[in-house]
Structures are given as C-alpha cells and as structure tokens.
C-alpha cells in the first residue's frame, strides 16, 4: 500500500482543508489558520526529520540486521522540474514515466484515520470516505505528472446556490417552474487538468479587394472601381491557450468557462488540493493539440485578413503553419454539477476562480411567446403612436 499525505494541523493534528476565501489552510477543529507556505515548511521540516529518522532507522536497521533484526520502508523524493515543454518532450516524458503512476486502481492509507482509501487511476486528490479527511496522492504528482501551476479555488462552494439563482434570473426564457422543479445534484469542486499551449503561427497570404465611387459627369453616371492586391507575411504568437486534458470532462463546457485570470496562478503545491478533488491528465498534449491549434490558426488567419483596410478582401492564396508549440501542465479550479428537470440531465460548470457559470438550460415555449408578445406590444405602442402622429401632421398640412 502506498502512503498518502494529508496535511495535519500543527496544533491539533486534525486534517487541514483549503479555504477558498482566504487562500489559507484551516483547521475545522481548533480553528487554526495557516499559510500554505507555512504548512509546507512544517511538512518539509517533518519530512527532513522523518528522513533523518529513516536514516537513523536504516542505520539502526543495518545495525539491527547485523544483529539479526528488521527495519523501516523509505519514501523516495519527487524530482524538481520545469513544466513548460515542447509537445515532443511531453510525449517522451509520459512514455518514460513510472508505470506505477498509471495503475488503474490504487489503494492508500489515510494519514488521518489509517483507513484504506481506494482511488481510480486519474485521481490525485480526494477525501477519505470514512473521516472526510483530505487525501493527496503524491505519487501521481511526481516527475512528468507533476503540474507546474495551479490556480487555487477563490469561489466558496457555499455561495453557489445564490450564484445559481442569479444565473437563472438572467435567463428570461427559462420555464417558470424550472426554479422549483429542478434537482441539483452533488456539487464537486474539482481541479481539472489543463494544457496551456504557447505557440507561434507563421503565415503568408495574398488578398484582393476593390473600392468604388460614383459621380455624375455631364449627362453620364460614372462608376470608378479600383482594384488592389495585398500581400502579408508575418506571424502571431500565442500564450497559454487552455485546453482541458481530461477525456471524461466535456470540452465545450471547459471552453465556455474561460477565461481564467492567470495572475492568480501559483507554482504547484499539493496543499492547494486539500478539500477538493483533483485529477491528473489522461490526454497528452499531442492528443488534444488540434483543439488549441485550430483556434490559433483561425485567429491568425482572421488577424491577417483584418489588416487589410478595404472592406471585405478575398483570399487569393494563403499558408499558415506552426513554427513553435509548447505546453505546460496546470490544474484549474472548476465546480461541476448536474441538474435534473423532467427526467433530463442538464450539465453545469462554474469557474472556481471567477465564478462564471455555464450550463444547459431549457427554453420555455410559453415564456418565449410571452416575451414576444410583450416586446411586440411595447414596440407597436411606441412606433404606432409615432407613425400616427406623423401621418396626422401630414394630413393636416395637405388639407
């Protein structure tokens, strides 16, 4: 059994959880509140102490062995590393990774209550089903699987119902009884694995356009049309285009909760994961590159065409290609939940940093009709009154 790490309160040894409002690790039992760095320092100190203990233990084991007696297991360290790599580098890293990291099911011992916690192959953080303590699966956060950065949760889950109410209120065509009849499923605060792509798209294109002017000359109406050719050679650089790296999570949902504010991004520390579920990637940067690659290429083409000032140019020829593509591995905060309404499931996601809510909502037919009628009455009232006044004025003047 691999050992799992939960961060323990230095005051009372209860499991710490991350408070999204303050960004600190808090203890629900003794009320203590600590910076992540503070706890990391404690953990490092404890780890160093444990290593020293182990070293003494090994020494002691060896001495015991010499004496014919048993010793302790030891823990290996996670290597440090830069997290922005080319796609090829990522492929090599993933291919050469420790297979144990990708084991289907792994069992862990909860450090809080010593219960055995079973996780699936993607989980890197979860909670103990017995004591609710946070469990971070260290071995899936090492080597090539170690995220470079994380944006900690800023939105408190307790505020979600109020935010969801506002979301519904801004959807005027929602069926009237959706508010009362829908059942909101369990809300899951999840750190979703993302690849952030940096890239450069080089391109060359030739466009054609024309402008016309019309004037009168003598008895003739004259139309003059000027034709132009526009040549463009250049590049566009992109930074941190996000694509979620989880197959099971809906891509459109993750596209829709953009943007994230990268200013809040912090170098990854496992402490940020406590209290939340986190998953590692199961799609490599190469597998999902097309999603960001298409966006970048499309944007580059649009920017090239937009540099032509004459109206709507036609493309005579064009060629765009990537000359650089790199990715970094990050965890971004997302709340996921479902709503069930009249037997149908509606999926929702909330950006755990900005609070942006996206989700499927039904459109009520009677609400659409009522909105149309209301708008029509309002417009007809205004335009009809104005039109009648103008018509009466013209009749009065003519008569």
């Amino acid at each position: 059994m691999a050992e799992a790490t939960g961060y323990s309160c230095p005051q009372c040894r209860a499991t710490l959880k991350l408070d999204p409002n303050s960004g600190k690790l808090t203890c629900e039992f003794c009320g203590g509140s600590f910076d992540v760095d503070q706890i990391e320092a404690v953990v490092d100190k404890e780890s160093a102490a444990r290593k020293e203990t182990e070293r003494h233990g090994r020494k002691w084991q060896q001495e015991q062995k010499k004496k014919g007696q048993e010793g302790y297991n030891f823990v290996y360290d996670a290597p440090e590393g830069i997290t922005t790599r080319s796609i090829e580098e990522w492929e090599a890293l993933i291919a050469g990774g420790d297979q144990e990291q990708f084991d289907e099911v792994v069992g862990y011992t909860c450090s809080n209550c010593a219960a055995q916690v079973v996780t699936d192959k993607l989980t890197v953080a979860t909670s103990c089903q017995y004591c609710g303590g946070s469990v971070v699966v260290d071995q899936r956060l090492t080597g090539g699987l170690k995220p470079g950065y994380v944006i900690p949760f800023k939105v408190d889950a307790k505020k979600l119902p109020e935010m969801l109410t506002k979301f519904y209120e801004d959807r005027p065509l929602l069926p009237k009884n959706f508010f009362y009849d829908n059942q909101v499923g369990e809300v899951q605060g999840l750190y979703v694995p993302f690849w952030l792509y940096d890239g450069q798209v080089d391109g060359s294109a030739t466009y054609t356009s024309s402008t016309s002017r019309t004037y009168t000359s003598g008895d003739d109406d004259v139309t003059e049309t000027d034709y132009y050719e526009h040549e463009r050679v250049g590049y566009v650089q992109f930074n941190d285009v996000p694509v979620d790296a989880s197959e099971r999570i809906d891509d459109d949902l993750m596209d829709s909760i953009e943007p994230f504010n990268y200013k809040d991004m912090k170098p990854f520390k496992p402490g940020y994961l406590t209290g939340f579920v986190a998953e590692r990637f199961d799609q490599s940067p190469r597998e999902v590159f097309d999603r960001s690659g298409d966006r970048m290429k499309r944007t580059t083409e649009s920017m090239f065409r937009g540099s032509v000032s004459n109206g709507f140019p036609d493309t005579k020829s064009s060629h765009f290609e990537f000359t650089r593509a790199e990715a970094s591995y990050v965890l971004l905060p997302v709340y996921l939940f479902n709503c069930k309404y009249r037997g149908k499931m509606y999926r929702y996601a909330v950006n755990g940093q900005t609070g942006k809510i996206v989700g499927e909502v039904p459109t009520g037919k009677s609400e659409s009709r009522a909105a149309f009628l209301k708008a029509f009455v309002r417009w007809f009232g205004m335009s009809g009154a104005a039109a009648v006044i103008i018509a009466l004025v013209s009749i009065f003047l003519l008569n």
């Binding site: 801004d170 250049g234 999926r347 029509f376 009809g384 039109a387 003047l397």
Partner: protein, 486 residues
C-alpha cells in the same frame, strides 16, 4: 423579482419616459408646423409675406441674393419717391384683383393714400397683372400698365430677375419723374419700357384679366380658330350674357364617349344638378381654336348660356384632343369657384391623369364627375385617412420584426455552452515582415442619365391653376380652375 418578466421596473419606467419624451417632441413639432402653415388665408401675412421686402418670391423663381438685392434697392428709393413699388411671384398671381388684394391686405403703399404700384407674376401660367393705387392711378395710365405687363411677360419666363429689375426700374423712374425726382441713374442695366403713350389699340374688355388663362404655355399654333365656330360671337366684347337652361350638358365633339356612356353621363349630371342647384357641363373637342384650354372652356360656358343665378354658378370640364395641345381643364363659375381651389383641382387631376394617359377617356371623365359630385355635395373632399392606416400597418410590421429580433437575442442569452473558435485574447501580433497594398487596376463604367421629355406629353405633376379670370365676354362670368396636358 418576478422571474417571468425580463425587464425590471427600472427598465419599464425608462421605456415609458423615453416614449413620452418622443411623443411630446412630435406634438410640439406638429403644433409649430400648424402655426407656420395656416392654409387658405393668403392675405393675412402669415403665409410668409415679408412686408419689409418689396420683392416677395413665393415660388423660388429668383435666387435669394437677387430677391434680397432688388428688394433693398427699391426700398432705399422709397423715401425719395414717396411711392411703393412692389413685385410678388406666386401661383395665385396673374389677375388684377389678386394684385390689388395683395397690395391692400399687406399694407403696402406710401402715405395716407397708400400710393404705390404692384406687379403680380404667376410662373406656372406665365401671366402677370399690374395694379396701381393712390397717386399711382394718375402716374400710370392703362396703356402704361399694359406696357409694363407686356414687357414683364416677354422677359420673365427666361430672365425673371431681369424682368423684375426692369419693372422696378421703369416704375420707379416714372413715379420719380412725377414727383420731380430723377432715379434713372440708379438703374443702369434696365431695359426701357414703352414711353407710356397710348399708342396701342385699345385692349378688348377684360383682356388684362384674361391673361390669367391665355398664356403662351397653353396656346399653341392651331389650324383652327374661333371663326369657324358658329356659336362663338364675332365681337365677344359686345356679347350680352344670358341663361340657357336647355343647353346640352354633354357635348362630345371629340367623340370620346359611346352613345351609352354619353347617356349615362347625362343622367348622372342631371342628378347632380337637381341636388346641387348648379350646372355641370362636359365639353370635348378636337381643338381649343387658338385659345388656351382655360379660356376656351370659359368662353364655351359663357357663350352657350350655362350657369345658374346672377353669377352663373356651375362647372365645365373641357377635354381638348388637339395634337400638341391635348389636355383637360376644369373651370368653375360664380359661387362654385369657392371650392375650386388649386389643391382640389390637383386632387381631381391626380385621379384622372393616368386614365387620360392610357387612353381610357370614359373612365377618366366619369371619375372626374364623381369627384365633382363628392366635392360639391360634401363642400370639400373628405379627409383621406389612408396615411394613418398605412402608418399603422408599417408600425405593425416594424414591431413584428423588432420583437422577433428581441426574442432571438433572449434565446441567444440562453445558450452559454459553446466551443471556443478563436484565441484572440491569448494572441499578440500580428507582426509582419511583408505588408504591401498595391493598386493593380481601375475600371470606369458610364451610363447615360434618363432625361424625361419636356414636350407636351404632359406630366403627372402639379396642375396649372388660375383663379378669378374672365371669359372673352361677360364680366359677370369669372372663373377659377386648372388642368393639365396629357
């Protein structure tokens, strides 16, 4: 908050306030316009007559600069002349009565006797009339007045500013000479009028007033003359007016109607006459016999004894089929003139013009008499409310379109999950190593203007109109009416 409604109370009150402000602005504009454009009262001064100006051009014939310059020039001379010289250009002008009314109602005239002279010119019919008041009747003889009128009419169609200049010059020089003041040096570019001596043949009675209907625009060289008409008196000036209640009401010399159509029209006219106690006449002919259509219609009416009462009340509708002079003219006599306004003439002509153009003469004639029936039965045409209905229909359609657009926007708001197609917010650039814009070609295409013919094919625009003109005989017969060529 009521989730059913998309707009908060704040939004609704804003919409209400915006609508109220818009409606208030429109009402204010409507009231202001009604005060500025009061119909009917041409003499009250609120039709735009500027009594500080001695040259008033209501038809825009003169440029603003010319109008202002000429007006200031003559007004400057008034203290020396002790005499007003006035010119006005209007579609109502052309008769001496009109000129007199304009002079008096606008308080022109110098001193207690309102000494002065006015010329009124009608650019539509190219006729003018001069009226002298106070000492002006002594300064200017009838021959002088005739000479001034003839001179103006000769020049005005092509050079209205010069004609006005000449009139002001000649009238002020003659008035100045009477007052012992020489102002000839003030008018270096004038065309001299006749000396004013009575060297011309005395004009026939009512000839001056008749210029209203007998203009060069309406009188074309004709193979026919009135000499070949047995009912036309040899000496119109000695014609004795009479009533002929048995005179035929439909005289279709141009043969535009079938026998049945003619009989039906006779019956219709009889019914109208019984109800309205006035004569209605249709007269069609192959020519206007050298006269204008307006004058010829008046002469036919007068010399055939139409009309009821002392003022010979009635209406004649004349259709002339002479090549180069085809057209129609409605003339009202006596008290019937009251409703025969320029607007009503235009309304009736608008209704018949296209039928004349397409050759459906019977239809056009019947529509005309139906409209005359409505006009005189209701003492005016009923207000056409169709613009209001049209406005409501247009507002309905616009509201449907705008409401649909609004609901489409609301439906768009319901969609929050969609794939990202672009990455502009993550882009920097573009950075170009080559950015060239080259002009490669120019193409020119020319198309000719369409120019409508100025020939006498007629147009569906405004009708010619004359008010208060006389026929060639009979001073009791005064007519008002108008018509068009087709």
């Amino acid at each position: 908050m009521n989730k059913f409604f998309a707009y908060s109370n704040h939004d609704r009150s804003f919409v209400g306030r915006a609508f109220a402000a818009f409606a208030a602005v429109l009402i204010v504009v409507a009231v202001a316009l009604s005060l500025c454009f009061h119909p009917g009262m041409a003499w009250a001064g609120n039709d735009g007559t500027d009594t500080n100006m001695r040259v008033n051009d209501f038809n825009g014939v003169l440029s603003e600069d010319d109008e202002s310059f000429l007006s200031k020039k003559i007004k400057k001379l008034e203290p020396q002349l002790k005499f007003d010289v006035v010119v006005y250009i209007s579609s109502n002008a052309g008769t001496r009565g009109n000129a007199k009314g304009f002079f008096e109602k606008n308080d022109f005239g110098y001193g207690d006797a309102s000494d002065g002279i006015v010329l009124g010119y009608n650019p539509d019919t190219q006729e003018c009339a001069v009226y002298a008041n106070g000492i002006g009747t002594t300064i200017f003889s009838d021959a002088d007045i005739k000479a001034l009128e003839d001179a103006f009419v000769e020049t005005a169609p092509s050079k209205p500013a010069q004609a006005t200049y000449d009139f002001l010059a000649n009238a002020s020089i003659k008035a100045g000479a009477y007052q012992g003041v020489s102002v000839s040096s003030e008018w270096p570019n004038r065309t001299k009028a006749s000396s004013g001596s009575a060297a011309t043949t005395p004009a026939p009675a009512n000839a001056a007033a008749n210029t209203a209907a007998n203009t060069s625009a309406n009188t074309k060289p004709s193979a026919h003359t009135t000499a070949e008409l047995d009912w036309y008196p040899k000496d119109p000036s000695s014609f004795v007016e009479f009533h002929n209640p048995d005179a035929p009401r439909v005289v279709d010399n141009a043969d535009l109607l079938t026998d049945d159509e003619e009989a039906a029209l006779v019956a219709k006219i009889k019914d109208m006459e019984d109800r309205l106690d006035m004569d209605f006449v249709l007269y069609t002919d192959i020519s206007s016999y050298g006269l204008s259509r307006g004058l010829y219609a008046a002469d036919f009416y007068t010399f055939n004894g139409y009309g009821r009462g002392d003022d010979y009340t009635g209406v004649i509708y004349f259709v002339c089929m002479e090549p180069g002079n085809r057209g129609f003219w409605t003339a009202a006599c006596g008290s019937a003139q009251e409703l025969m306004t320029e607007d009503n003439v235009n309304k009736m002509d608008d209704a018949t013009f296209d039928y004349f153009k397409s050759g459906d003469y019977a239809k056009a004639i019947n529509i005309q008499f139906d409209n005359l029936d409505v006009l005189y039965t209701n003492k005016g045409f009923p207000i056409d409310w169709s613009p209001v209905l049209g406005a409501i229909i247009i507002a309905f359609i616009i509201s449907l379109v705008l409401a649909s657009k609004e609901v489409r926007q609301l439906k768009k708001k319901m969609i929050t999950v969609m794939p990202a197609r672009y990455a502009r917010e993550y882009a920097s650039g573009p950075v170009f190593s080559v950015k060239t814009d080259t002009h490669t070609d120019t193409k020119v295409t020319r198309t000719k203007h369409y120019t409508p013919s100025d020939s006498d094919s007629g147009s569906s625009g405004r009708s010619s109109y004359s008010g208060g003109y006389s026929s060639s005989g009979g001073s009791s017969h005064t007519f008002s009416g108008g018509g068009r060529s087709f």
